[in-house]
């Protein structure tokens, strides 16, 4: 009789512990986390040890990359020559736009717009530790001014945002993670206008993002650029995510779903840029 009672208590205890554990996990995994001093110290030390082990191999890799680059230097020079001719025109146009924005800002008495950011370059130390979390660790932390929530980009577009920082490293959650909390407001460029939608998920098989909740009935051209809107305070406005590759309609011809292909190779990112919000 006593044994049966003990077993009952044991099962109830395991049940309560499991619920408590899952509740805590749910809270801590989904929240953006500030580490304690000990956590930061341990994390930074192990990551820096890992980085030190990588260093000689990184140097060899960089050396071979440089040799490969030398081989097609002349073709690159020719291609860049054409680009330079366009650059002068683009620079003057850009400066003009900046001037207009500045004037408008002073007219409206705005302190900081979502477009304004400072750039900070960083190197990836580790990627996809633990497989499920779609995270990378970069070699810049709170000491370099990285803040939780900062957008992270590469030359090909947005890759994610900073979810935790320690002194010398930060974790970046990639856009490919189908995290339920990470809905991003995006806009697609049509001929004269923008169509707004919400980036909801990433299809690992097709390697495309899905945009849903598209506003209006304006035709969206394929290969239209998809950028962030700056709404919701998560990402600055105008950061490239990808281009429209396919548009599908539901059975009732009402809702549209857009597939967006990103140029970023999310599995092999090595260098990134952090956009720090500029405060005037």
């Amino acid at each position: 009789m006593k044994k049966r009672l003990d077993l009952k208590y044991f099962v109830v205890a395991i049940f309560i512990t499991s619920i408590f554990f899952l509740g805590m996990m749910s809270f801590f995994l989904k929240e953006e986390k500030n580490f304690t001093f000990v956590d930061k110290l341990f994390k930074d030390s192990v990551h820096y040890l890992g980085y030190t082990v990588q260093l000689p191999f990184r140097k060899i890799h960089a050396f071979y990359d440089r040799i490969r680059e030398y081989q097609d230097l002349y073709e690159k020079y020719e291609a860049l020559q054409e680009e330079v001719e366009k650059t002068d025109f683009m620079t003057s146009k850009y400066n003009e736009s900046l001037k207009v924005i500045e004037e408008l800002e002073s007219m409206l008495d705005l302190n900081a717009t979502l477009m304004e950011s400072e750039y900070l370059n960083a190197t990836i130390i580790s990627r996809n530790l633990g497989y499920w979390y779609d995270k990378v660790t970069i070699d810049k932390g709170s000491r370099s001014g990285v803040e939780i929530g900062s957008a992270v980009i590469t030359s090909d577009g947005l890759i994610g945002r900073v979810i935790s920082t320690s002194y010398t490293t930060s974790d970046v959650k990639l856009l490919t993670s189908n995290d339920i909390n990470q809905k991003i407001s995006v806009k697609m460029k049509t001929e004269n206008n923008y169509v707004y939608g919400i980036l909801t998920s990433y299809d690992e098989e097709k390697r495309v993002f899905t945009v849903e909740g598209i506003s209006g009935n304006i035709e969206i051209p394929t290969s239209a650029e998809v950028t962030t809107t700056g709404l919701g305070d998560a990402f600055p406005s105008g950061i490239l995510i990808g281009t429209v590759s396919k548009i599908t309609k539901d059975h009732f011809d009402l809702a549209r779903t857009v597939e967006v292909t990103s140029k970023v190779d999310f599995n092999g990112i090595s260098y990134v840029t952090i956009l720090k919000r500029k405060n005037k």
């Binding site: 995994l29 996809n128 530790l129 497989y131 499920w132 995270k135 995290d179 599995n267």
Partner: protein, 164 residues
């Protein structure tokens, strides 16, 4: 005793270092910290759960996964011990144990993450997670086993020579 923890940190370092060189979608994802912990827990009886809990906790700190591994490591160590009691030690059981180790870790982690709605279920992703962890980790565990056997033989012959 302390050497265990030093090797544990070394395994974490190696895991971080290797993760940079392999792409995220590769079939060579390292699980060295986990495998080393499981390998160590097989050797000792007394400190098994304490060591696996601390190893899990350190691994959690590294990956920001609050208590997930601290909970899973001792649990899998317990399961593995129960299986070992019912099995003979040979090459085939070594293979079976290795697959079970990888399966248990991936399965339980995925289960917890789905239950708390952190991830959405995808059978393909689950199978890929197992497949991606087999090749490199099998080589690692094999190497670990060989080193342990070599050390055991060396210690045994040293003791024998001392007695004679």
């Amino acid at each position: 005793m302390r050497i265990k923890y030093i090797i544990l940190i070394m395994m974490m370092t190696l895991e971080i270092a290797l993760s940079y060189f392999f792409r995220a979608d590769t079939y060579f994802l390292p699980l060295f910290t986990y495998l080393y912990t499981m390998h160590e827990t097989r050797k000792e009886e007394k400190q098994t759960y304490k060591f696996s809990f601390i190893a899990g906790l350190l691994y959690d700190t590294l990956m920001n996964t609050f208590f997930l591994n601290a909970f899973l490591f001792p649990m899998i160590a317990f399961l593995l011990k129960q299986i070992e009691k019912r099995m003979d030690q040979n090459k085939i059981t070594f293979l079976i144990e290795f697959f079970l180790l990888i399966f248990f870790y991936r399965f339980f982690t995925y289960l917890v993450l789905i239950v708390i709605q952190y991830l959405e279920f995808s059978m393909l992703r689950f199978l890929r997670s197992i497949l991606s962890s087999i090749f490199l980790n099998f080589l690692f565990l094999l190497l670990l086993q060989k080193i342990t056997l070599y050390n055991q033989r060396k210690n045994h012959s040293f003791k024998m020579s001392k007695t004679t």
